[in-house]
Symmetry: C2
Subunit: 195 residues, 2 copies
């Protein structure tokens, strides 16, 4: 699978200087020429890119994760996490699927690839995984508590668009919201999530 990294609206120029290196965020600054010829310091944050996996079970249900993290209220979303340095996008998706669900798959479809957070360079890849085989148990970080919850497409749409639910995958909400009301979009997603 040839996966192209989505670029942010305003890329960090190659001459930008990394002024901070953190656990999650790096910060870059550069001198930018303004429209009147004056110069100003521009700044952008960068995060390690992430993968989200929405696994489809043989019965057509989508395996979501109900998660707790220290200091964070309960939330629901896909499986996934950070791509490690020098790790391939698909390799990261397979690793996160295995760690967080105990399933493996060779059938990944890239649904969305976005980079849309203002002033931040952070690509998020959303995959649908099919033909799952259970090979083990969950292998979680000490900072994760995950309960796997199989839901129908309709249930996922309702969870994602319910303002009282803390749904983590904000980048897929517009797609699911459209499917909630537009039958053509709903059909498209039914195809996408067909087991």
């Amino acid at each position: 699978m040839d996966i192209k990294r989505p670029q942010p609206g305003q890329p960090i120029p190659s001459h930008a200087k990394r002024v901070f290196k953190g656990v999650i965020f790096d910060v870059y600054q550069w001198e930018q020429e303004m429209f009147d010829g004056t110069r100003a310091i521009f700044e952008k944050a960068k995060r390690q890119d992430s993968v989200t996996i929405l696994p489809v079970l043989p019965d057509g249900k989508i395996l979501l994760a109900e998660q707790e993290q220290p200091g964070h209220p309960l939330f629901v979303g896909g499986l996934g996490g950070r791509i490690e340095e020098n790790e391939d996008v698909l390799t990261a998706a397979k690793r996160e699927l295995l760690e967080e669900s105990g399933y493996i798959s060779d059938n990944f479809t890239l649904w969305l690839a976005l980079n849309q957070i203002p002033k931040t360079d952070w690509a998020v890849y959303v995959f649908v995984a099919r033909d799952l085989r259970k090979v083990g148990d969950l292998n979680l970080d000490p900072g994760e508590k995950i309960k796997l919850v199989p839901v129908t497409l309709e249930e996922m749409i309702n969870l994602a668009t319910d303002k009282n639910v803390c749904f983590r995958e904000q980048e897929i909400v517009p797609e699911l919201l459209e499917a909630k009301y537009n039958p053509a979009k709903k059909k498209e997603l039914e195809e996408l999530f067909r087991p």
Copy 2:
């Protein structure tokens, strides 16, 4: 107007240490106890909060801004910008409206207040402004080029949900997407944007 600041899902604890102070981003770190009793460094970025203003002209059209910024392709969105340190939210909204359009108003309605970017504490307040009076010209930063574009609610909905348009206000897209398909939501927004 009593405006409550929306909190992020995972607030930065008061004992967190600011480890970086930048032009846009500050970064905080703290030691967090994990579920197994071990400890890890958690990190979160913080940005100065922002206001977005959607002004309604007497004819019912909404005044959007078509903007260019150095190193950034053309984009469209509401007026607005960063709230300055120690500046009141509504004061910032009035200031940005005046600077970017030459209009003043005493009739602001808070539509949305969100804080939803992962790992970032950044509140965005979206206002609708009515009863506009033109008192001057645009007073722009050297890093701004703004062309004001009056659009109907329908046109704004189409701009925000057109994947070929770079629409800046991603936080209002779900609302506008719902209004595109759900007549009840459309009616709610027609009320909200009534001059």
